[in-house]
Amino acid sequence: MMTDTYLTFLAYSTELEQESQERYLEIAESMATHGNDEVAGFFHRMADEAGNHLAEVSLLCEGAELPPIKAWEFQWPDAEPPETTSYEALHYRMSLHDAMTLALANERAAEQFYRDYAHNSTDAEVINTANEFADEEKSHAQALELMLEDVPVVSELAREEDDPPMMPE
């Protein structure tokens, strides 16, 4: 029998991972539309990662009825869930290094969120699962840190403007 606090935690986890996956996918598709295939490919991989985590959360939710929380009723540390990429941080000419740095910040924010959730809970099941999720986010961050070492530092907007912005009719 799942406690209410655990079900609420699962609702938060589901929302966090789902928003993360959908935003990564949305960004990947728009980057591809605007010709930044390298960054598009990276965000597609991040969407897959978030999708894997979402599938894990969904498994835990099987047979449970999560509390019906509207999108704007969740209490996040910022305006959106911690692993969701902010729109204003993007640009169609952003480099792979910029994109990976952004994703790294997302993973760290998610780790911190889960860690804080565990810290502030008295429900043993919530504490265990939240810490597990935090460890998982930490491992994602560490993997990204390693990958970043091999990616040349290219400053934002340094990519050649080979296709000026346009909105074809």
Binding site: E29, K70, F74, E80, A89, H91
Partner: protein
Amino acid sequence: MNESLAMKPRDYKSGIKPIWCPGCGHFSVLNAITKAAAACGLAKDDTVLVSGIGCSSRLPAYVDSYGFHGVHGRGLAVAQGLKVARPDLTVIALGGDGDGFSIGGNHFMHACRRNVNITYIAMDNEVYGMTKGQASPTSPEDWEGSKLTPHGPGVRPFKPAAMALASGAPWIARGYSGNPNQIARLLAEAMAFPGFSFLHVLSQCITFCPQQTDWKAIVSDFEEEPLSRADEAAALFLSEDGFKTGLLYREPRAIWPPEAAPAEDAKLVLRDLASVFQR
């Protein structure tokens, strides 16, 4: 349970991929619309999005409902006509700052005055993005980002909230694209409001106005209860920096038309109209 109540936000997306630039604030509005639709259990067949022309006006194509991508600045005219003919529908008009405050500025004022029961979302990025970055009615006076106005447009920007209030809009709110959940909440409230609801969204264009990435640090919440006195709202709208977000003003009044046309009459009108186009 109503089938629509079980739908997720993504179920309201049409599957057509937006062509907007990565980082465009309009993505946020699209997501807010689908979130509000899911939370309110909107039936797709009873929902219509009507737009004008511009980057933001592409939005109806991306939502799985009825939609009309109309004539520049005339989205509000079409939306009001539709609502009067079919009061049973949820009608949302939307567009950008150029479409709504310049080309369609007259329609905007009279829609506020008329008070038909629709919602209007103005996605304001202070620039004509589709035509590659010219100054719009809301561009800052000293904005030097366009080669057409290298020293800035040199005229004071339009104040959408003040203009809406002066024209009689009974419900005025402002959102910011960095906070799609706030926009979704405001939109849900707007759709529930009986009358013309005006949702002004600060929706950044990072391609032509990269300085708008600073908006995140500038916007603030309007933490008071929505104002209901027009004189107090006027004082606010004429003195604020334009970055306060939330429901700013709410004062319900009689909607127009006073009595919604019976559905049968509306069908007859539509049939007559259809016959005109069939000639």
